[in-house]
């Protein structure tokens, strides 16, 4: 009870500091803070499916890009819709894509799903590169709007909402239990009467839609997008690293990983410019985390060891007689 109160105080303090931040720092650091909030949100979106449901999505950048491109196209010349009208549009477009993609691919087991999502993102990138209306490799311009505070608060609201939804849905509801159950043992979850196909699809769509909202805000914020900047595989790479670093399947892990890694990225950028070295650091971070810190930074603070599926797995394997005793 005491520690719960402490963390609540910490949370409120963090929110107050974040809300007052524009008054405390200059525009340069405010931009960095905006970016950090975006990455914390994106990492959380990836964690919904990757951490809670146990399905690795190597194509999350596709949904970020869909949101960005939907906003850019709708705010562009013929229509010129207001920004906040394009966010729901992006959500609808992304949800449609996610259902079309997710319904068949979520039947695939882990590795195949990872390949399928990766292939989907690449198809979409190549498609945006070659068709005309997206501006091809040249990209699209958005009407410039240069108010750093507006973007900071928009991103802040989106991030808070993302974490609130994640907390309510995955940590505090029956839905979250269903998702975790199917992650830990899908056949067992199904045998309990959980419609795993539906639950997986719902999680996937939620995760995709969240990324799309950040894509919309990002596009308006940077006022210029091209396939590489919003569909690039590096975007997914970063989300994966942030979640692994912070802690797969924990609520605060993605925030820790997202903010931490983004700040490191900016510091590197300030000192050495746009460097390929960062990619190497990302790679090394993944390898080291997998080898030495499989539960991420959040795992270090967990009071009891993070819930491990192996006990349940072994028990159920014994019952259903899963020949290899593995997870295949």
């Amino acid at each position: 009870m005491k520690s719960r109160l402490a963390s609540l105080v910490l949370l409120i303090a963090a929110i107050v500091v974040l809300a007052l931040l524009p008054a405390l720092v200059n525009n340069y650091w405010l931009r960095i803070a905006t970016g950090a909030l975006m990455w914390a949100g994106l990492a959380c979106s990836w964690n919904m499916l990757g951490g809670y449901a146990g399905y690795i999505n190597f194509g999350q950048s596709a949904f970020f890009g869909l949101g960005a491109y939907t906003s850019a196209l709708l705010m562009g010349d013929p229509l010129g819709l207001p920004f906040f009208a394009t966010i729901p549009a992006g959500i609808v477009v992304t949800a449609i894509f996610a259902i079309i993609i997710g319904a068949p691919t979520l039947r695939l087991r882990g590795a195949y799903f990872a390949i399928a999502t990766w292939a989907f993102a690449e198809v979409l990138t190549q498609f945006v590169n070659v068709v005309g209306f997206t501006g091809g490799i040249g990209g699209l311009n958005l009407p410039p709007f240069l108010d750093e505070r507006f973007f900071y608060f928009t991103m802040f609201a989106a991030a808070v909402l993302t974490y609130l939804v994640t907390w309510a849905l995955f940590e505090r509801s029956r839905f979250g239990l269903k998702v975790k159950a199917l992650r830990d043992h899908e056949p067992a979850a199904e045998a309990m009467g959980i419609n795993t196909a539906l639950v997986k699809l719902q999680t996937f769509v939620l995760s995709a839609v969240t990324a799309s909202v950040f894509g919309s805000i990002f596009a308006y914020w940077v006022t210029f997008i091209n396939p590489k900047s919003v569909f690039g595989g590096d975007i997914t790479d970063q989300m994966v690293v942030m979640v692994l670093l912070g802690g797969l399947g924990s609520l605060w892990g993605p925030a820790i990983g997202g903010v931490g890694l983004f700040v490191i990225n900016r510091l590197l950028w300030m000192n050495w410019g746009d460097t390929a070295f960062y990619i190497a650091i990302l790679g090394a971070a993944i390898v080291l985390v997998v080898l030495f810190l499989p539960n991420g930074i959040a795992g270090l603070f967990a009071k009891r060891p993070a819930e491990s599926a192996t006990v349940l797995d072994k028990a159920v394997d014994k019952l259903v007689g899963n020949g290899e005793g593995g997870h295949s």
Partner: protein, 290 residues
């Protein structure tokens, strides 16, 4: 018609080279149960080795082939046990952790190569570069013929090794059932290291050939990883025989799309095919399944 034949032949020749590393990729999956994202990284490293041997020491690109096999064989032999340990660790999701590990390895290789060698594209000079062979109306670059011949030799050797030796039998048994193979006295841990070493060595050799045919830069690794995935999905993960067929098919598809539609569409076509196959028949067209 001439163009058609030429495209077909080019595709088959490239497919042969692709087959060498995808067979290794399948073998690794069969034994280690790990999907190796890093496959493209080994291909590119092989190409760079050949480039630097040619540029710094003035050696012919082909001389890099045995060096690549030994060097990356040793590196693979050292990495194999790490992969094995992660895949069989007691963490919550060893399958995803192993996938993440190879993904991290691939990112590390790509970032390291970009940092060390930059974004420039290099070609690997060989004695056969620029020469070509004409069979009737069809003109084929000699380097592609040589590379394909070499690839066929490697693949043939691998098949003989797998199907005609006791150690090959142990590898196949392990791929079929790890538990039973272990009970029959196969040292799975050491076998995993050997298989990953063999695979990394072969893949780097294929990289030398790919570097001589096309050119090499750190970003093309992704393309080869995609090739391996494509073949794995078409053939069914772990299927070694199917990999040969699927690799040839991939070479032909790529050649035809590049020639008749445009090379910027070839990746789109490959990804789209891959994606459709996954939807229609997730266990591979040439089914053997897991």
């Amino acid at each position: 018609m001439d163009l058609f034949l030429q495209t077909l032949l080019n595709g088959l020749l490239i497919g042969g080279v692709i087959a060498t590393f995808t067979i290794g990729f399948q073998l690794t999956f069969g034994v280690l149960h790990v999907i190796d994202f890093a496959v493209g990284g080994w291909v590119v490293l092989g190409g760079y080795l050949a480039y630097y041997m040619a540029a710094e020491l003035g050696l012919d690109g082909f001389l890099a082939i045995p060096v690549a096999f030994v060097l990356f064989g040793v590196i693979g032999y050292l990495i194999g046990p790490v992969l094995y340990n992660v895949r069989n660790s007691r963490t919550a999701r060893p399958e995803l952790m192993a996938l993440a590990l190879t993904f991290g390895l691939f990112t590390l290789l790509r970032g390291g190569m970009l940092t060390a060698w930059g974004f420039n594209t290099h070609s690997v000079p060989t004695a056969l570069s620029g020469e070509s062979l004409s069979i009737g109306p069809v003109i084929v670059p000699l380097i592609r013929v040589a590379a394909a011949a070499f690839a066929v030799a490697i693949a043939g050797g691998l098949f003989v090794f797998l199907y005609r030796t006791r150690y090959g039998l142990a590898i196949r048994a392990t791929a079929e059932s790890r538990q039973n193979a272990a009970l029959m006295g196969v040292n799975i841990h050491r076998l995993s290291a050997n298989v990953y070493g063999l695979y990394a060595g072969i893949t780097a050799m294929a990289g030398v050939l790919m570097g001589a045919i096309y050119s090499v830069n750190p970003e093309v690794g992704l393309r080869y990883t995609l090739f391996a995935f494509f073949v794995a999905v078409l053939a069914g993960l772990g299927s070694v025989g199917g990999a040969l067929v699927a690799a040839l098919l991939l070479g032909v598809i790529e050649a035809f799309v590049s020639t008749y539609v445009g090379s910027s569409y070839s990746l789109l076509a490959i990804f789209a095919t891959l994606f459709l196959v996954l939807l229609v028949s997730p266990r591979g067209i040439l089914q053997r399944g897991l």
